[in-house]
Amino acid sequence: MGSFRQIEPGRKPFKKAYVAIMLWFVGRSIPIAAKVDPGIRREIADLPDGFTFSLGVLPAGPAMIVGKDASGRAHYLGWHPERQKVDLSLKIRNIEAAIGMFTFQESTAVATARNRLIVDGEVPHACAVVRILDAVEVYLLFKVLARLAVKRYPDWSAGRILWGRFRIYLGAVLGF
């Protein structure tokens, strides 16, 4: 005769908090990056007006939502995707996969190739969002980390990256 036990799922509060902070920071950085970088501005401009997208972790978050208003400007819309209409939802399949991505063990492209992301929405829009995230990561991270996080590190001048990084950090922290 064997034995049985019911095991309740444990919690991973530190990992969840780390991913939540990363998502919050990236979400707040995107609107600033759209002002600073012409490439990101173009990507945002090509998205439909009123378009919103979310990036979150299954099954219950954390998440971030970014939207584009009628005037074409991007806004960080918080961390509750269930409270608003979302046109494109990028869901990371579990917290461990999110940790892998946000500790730069896996780039977004590699994580997608390994089926760690579920995309609910139009694929061209998803590709645009991944390009935006890649560009934002180049600004946010030092080169040694950004090379791990993005598919291809861009050939931008040091001045462009450093000035953009200063503007984005300032804007994301202070909220302007």
């Binding site: 005769m1 064997g2 034995s3 049985f4 036990r5 019911q6 095991i7 309740e8 799922p9 444990g10 919690r11 991973k12 990992k15 969840k16 299954l58 099954p59 219950a60 399949r93 579990n94 917290i95 461990e96 996969a97 892998g100 390994r114």
Partner: protein, 381 residues
Amino acid sequence: MNMPDLFSFQSPVKIESGRRALENIPIELARSEARKPLVLCGSQRDGTAEQFAAAFGDSGVPIVLYEGIPADPDFMTLRELWGLYRDRGCDAIIALGGGTTADAAKALNIAVSGRPEDLEQATGGSPAAARLRPFFYCPTTPGDGRETSCFARFGKRDFSSMSLMPNLAVIDPRLLREGAPGALTAAMVEALATAVEARLAPARNPLSGLYADVVIRLLAENAAAAKKRAAALAPAANALCLSGVVLSNAVRGPASRLAAALSAETPISEATALAILLPHAAAFLAKRHPAAAADLLLPLAGADAFTRTPAGERAARMAPQLRSLIRNLAGAADAPPSSLGAAAVPKEALPAAARRAALDASGASEAEGLEILSLAWTGTP
């Protein structure tokens, strides 16, 4: 590619394989509309169950873990599991282990999808319930490929139904163990035999053939790694998983049937008999189907060796290549004897084994079976 006039192929098995694959189980359960799985595992205390349970962290999915599936589970065990499944409100089954655990999980799935009596009253064949509960399989020790197949054995009863195949197989390197001495070699040879015989079967199925090619390539390309056993675990687990799908869509060939018959008639183990018999049976089948045998050299030897071999010699090179691959997979420790004679199989037992295998309708007659056995007894290539 030659298209047969008629073929069918079915594989409901989704495979999640690789780093952190375990953590995907909760979302796959949600997709199957299951909220609380009953997890069956053996009685080993090597941390496997704890590692498995930790993968559910932050998922919100509780699990009911049953440890101690016996090597030969009976109806009493099944009734206990059925009661546990019902009383704890489970709605899916996960087998965490090898062949015995997978067989018990399949039998339990028949019981919980209908009534336990369904299994007790069944004399084998297809289960009464056509739609079974979600069933996932996570290998930890090498099995024989039947785990992902449409076959299940419970006691002396054999069941066969496509609905018995797992909905998901999760191969996570963190869980894989070498198992008992010789088990890994036996598992790899079993997977190889299933794939080779599917490729050389009279009624070849093009889709089974593709799966079989992947099985052979996984084993052949990782044969060098097989010397470092830990490095061979993941490729072997993937090959076994796919070989179950091949097995479900193909007829067992003469090597498998003769090995089973020989182990029933003599003290030789089925795994050793299969390792000796497979190249001889393949050479026999190559004479009947030279084009298929020539094609088989490609996954066995790789593209470079295949293109270097003149087209007219490929069929003849297949069996020696297969023999060499089996030796590489086995390594020095588990190397099979060179012949059935060297394995101390009495020559007088061969006719009875050939008769027993022919009764199983292997596609090879008793005389042909005896011819293969005789060649394998002397070790004549």
